[in-house]
């Protein structure tokens, strides 16, 4: 994890991938929480594994923000329009989006229906991908762009894997099972 030089203004933007609606904390908790009601082992494994990978991504974003504000003082935060961060948290990290809105469990859905939840997960990956695209546009630092491109690409891979799992659940239902509210039953 490298940055060419501290950039408080960009830290204020990229914090949304720490504590925003489509950030890495939301992603991680969404998948690790949804895995309990998945219908078979493959799906439980996939949610466990992607949820764990997202936790690692959250640490990457945390390290990125930490480095982007390294050495910054009150005046630097003011110049970047992020004095609220300085006043309330100084160099401590806090889960908010780019507008300072604190993280909330409302960002996460869990309906307990595997088709609904996997569809939600696919949308979440696309939202994260789009957010990374916006962020990549907003920085000129080649090191930061590299990190963000890596994370961007992971969202594309996760979307692919969730799509494959959704197809499997659909097939499983199409063949001989129906979803009766909390478990699959033979037709």
């Amino acid at each position: 994890m490298r940055v060419s030089c501290p950039d408080v203004k960009f830290a204020k933007m990229v914090i949304t991938q720490y504590g925003g609606p489509d950030g890495e904390l939301s992603a991680s908790l969404r998948y690790l929480n949804q895995r309990y009601s998945m219908p078979f082992n493959k799906a439980k494994a996939l949610l466990t594994d992607i949820g764990t990978e997202e936790l690692a991504h959250m640490e990457m974003i945390a390290a990125l923000v930490y480095k982007l504000i390294q050495g910054a003082d009150c005046e630097d935060f003011k110049a970047a329009g992020w004095e609220g961060q300085y006043v309330q948290h100084d160099h401590g990290l806090f889960w908010t989006d780019a507008n300072g809105v604190p993280w909330t469990a409302k960002y996460i859905a869990a309906l307990g229906d595997p088709i609904t939840d996997l569809t939600e997960d696919m949308a979440a990956e696309q939202k994260a991908r789009t957010t990374y695209e916006h962020l990549i546009e907003c920085t000129d630092d080649p090191c930061v762009k590299d990190t963000l491109r890596f994370l961007w690409e992971r969202e594309v891979v996760h979307f692919q894997r969730f799509g494959e799992m959704l197809n499997e659940v659909n097939e499983y239902m199409g063949k001989c099972h129906i979803w009766n509210g909390h478990k699959f039953e033979k037709k």
Partner: protein, 84 residues
């Protein structure tokens, strides 16, 4: 942290861990792909070797019972990811 050799070894571990993560996710949805399982097992072998080399020189990568410690307690000497 400014030790180039340590950073280079960590980078190789991270690269191989990435290979393992990517194959792991792929295998979750393609569990019968034997070539991918062979590749995954190769990554496990390479990782074991790399981690052993690293830990012998620089101390534990993991705590909570995954690695031994010299004396004094080595875990607290580890470089933290956000300081590298």
């Amino acid at each position: 942290m400014n030790c180039e050799k340590q950073l280079a070894m960590l980078k190789r571990i991270q690269e191989m861990e990435f290979v393992a993560v990517e194959l792991n996710l792929y295998l979750d949805t393609h569990p019968c792909d034997e070539d991918a399982i062979n590749d995954y097992n190769c990554a496990v072998d390479a990782l074991c070797k790399l981690k052993k080399e690293y830990e012998e020189e620089y101390g534990p990568l993991m705590n909570f019972g995954f690695s031994y410690s010299d004396k004094p307690w080595q875990w607290i000497e580890s470089p933290w990811p956000w300081e590298m």
